[in-house]
Symmetry: none
Subunit: 189 residues, 4 copies
DNA sequence: CATGAATGAGGTTTCATTCAT
DNA sequence: CATGAATGAAACCTCATTCAT
């Protein structure tokens, strides 16, 4: 079973795009920059993607899928809600600042660069991720670990964690685990 | 003592720019769109601002100054730390979703569109605002209302509140006060 | 009463465009060629026209309007149908190969390069011109100068005359008047 | 004696090309469109033709050859000049709007898309066709069926007939025969 | 101050063509 | 023969900015 060559090149492009979009924003990244970063000519990009926006969509899709996988992996086999909530926070931060960092940052910052059609396509994935959080938040509220309305609490927590892309520098200063711990302490009773 | 005519027009432009930058992003707002929104021609803009970026700087400066004024007003004359912390949160949210909403959103979302020089110029204002928070956070920690490292706590809280621009619709559903209350309940012991 | 400067430049562009479109076809004429021919830079074109197609529309509109004016002028004050029919043929050929030649050729050859919307816009003008012919054709048939169905006869005659753009070289060999005379002799009884 | 496989595929391509060139013009038809229409990929086209223009040449060559054959067939075995002239007109119209319609239309409309070299190659064929007409026209003039200079008359007539591609819709309204009859009535004494 | 015209650099995209597999 | 990937040139168009009037 071999991965087709095509998808290898496409994947390279998505990874390079994530990096560039993070560094310069989507609008300020030109297709020529992206081509140069992957060693091809700008026209060749359009064999793999219909247009520039499709590249952004691929990056964000990638980010969203990996977010979900990350928290699923982190929380699975846990039964205690305290542990689960912590694992959820930790898993989110771990992937947010891990190897997929660029894609996640782009997912967060460039959502509004998407056309309405593209949003439509991606919103399902985003909803799925948020539902995963919502269920655990509800359980935490039921167990008096958190108080308030589930949706509001979820928005507060995810916003706070996502905001860390603005200031957190991985591999310098705090570890992700410490970060998660302090955050957990702040919100959980 | 009269306000010079020029500054009236300049102010109109900053307000219109804030709205457009919020709606379409800085990069996707053209100077022609801005000119059209204020009933002038694009060439005339350059009598008021040296370049497009100067307009962004003006918008963000506006937003930051008003943020500071808002929380100062809200917390002044309060002595109880519980009340002060709540007022800080409430004040932040009130101005964030109040009449200056556009400028605040632009301050938050378009920071990275600034050149390094412009960032230099604005960072003083931003620091001032953050220091205002920092002091109160420290007091709250000293009073066991919050726990953790002050800087981290500040970043968590401000991130969470700022994130509300992504989902909160003023004048529909929750009031700002309810929002502040729920948030306060979540983080304060 | 002065003609605004703007329309002078626009008119220059339309004239230059007609020439280029005639020589290289619309598709093979680039906006840079057109800019070079008028001594401006390609971007400047878009102050005068929204897009390349709008230039084509302007050229064709010009051609159609001048066709109508030409045959109106040529036939006015004539009452005899023999003379009128000849004048119609002669007027058509005269403008077709006169100073407006380029625009007429473009009107004829590039009609199908128009978008549907542009066609919609121009078809009124074309209809007007054809109606002018139709009326005279009918009168000629009523006077037994021509025989057959008016619409068919009109299409036959106009097609034949228009086709002359493929082979007739003005100011070399036959005169327009001889051409008209021979054609008149061929179709009129 | 078998027709080589290659030439079958080549012929399919020429037929498909004629249709596409007619519908979208040569310039607006991409090799990818042509490939898609024949169920192959664009790279494969270049095994059958050296370049895009060679396809156009093949289409036009096809059209011209079939025109000649059509009028030869239609007029052969006729001796009466009245009948011959009518047959010439009828034969031209019949093939122009018959099964080879696309190729004929392309021959007429895309002549100017040819490079000078290609024109050189095809002009012999076109001349041959025109000479066939010329001879009959001369005979008709000698018999007072037509009046005027042979070349001019030929250009008038062929132009008129060719123009019918702009307005005639086969299999709706008039028959080809009626068309031919009305045209014959118009020009012949 | 305001404007219309022009600039020039650069943007995304298209497309015929080539070629290794 | 067929293909998918790549090329490279060029296409149309955008836009912040300048400046004479």
């Amino acid at each position: 079973m071999t991965i087709p060559k095509q998808s290898i090149r496409r994947n390279e492009l998505v990874v390079a795009a994530a990096k560039l979009f993070k560094e310069n924003s989507f609008d300020r990244t030109t297709v020529r920059m992206l081509a140069a970063a992957t060693g091809i000519k700008s026209g060749s990009l359009f064999h793999h993607f219909k247009g520039k926006e499709e590249i952004l969509v691929a990056v964000i899709e990638d980010g969203l899928k990996k977010s979900l996988k990350a928290v699923q992996t982190e929380t699975q086999s846990l039964t205690d809600i305290n542990q689960t909530l912590f694992a959820l926070i930790y898993g989110h931060l771990k992937t947010l600042h891990g190897p997929e960092r660029d894609a996640h940052i782009v997912s967060i910052t460039e959502w509004r660069s998407l056309s309405d059609e593209s949003k439509q396509h991606l919103i399902t994935l985003r909803d799925e991720y948020e539902q995963f959080w919502q269920k655990i938040i509800i359980e935490a509220i039921d167990n008096r670990l958190l108080t308030g309305e589930p949706t509001l609490i979820r928005l507060f927590i995810l916003g706070s964690l996502n905001w860390s892309i603005q200031w957190f520098q991985p591999s310098q200063g705090k570890s992700i685990k410490e970060l998660a711990q302090q955050f957990y302490n702040m919100v959980a009773k």
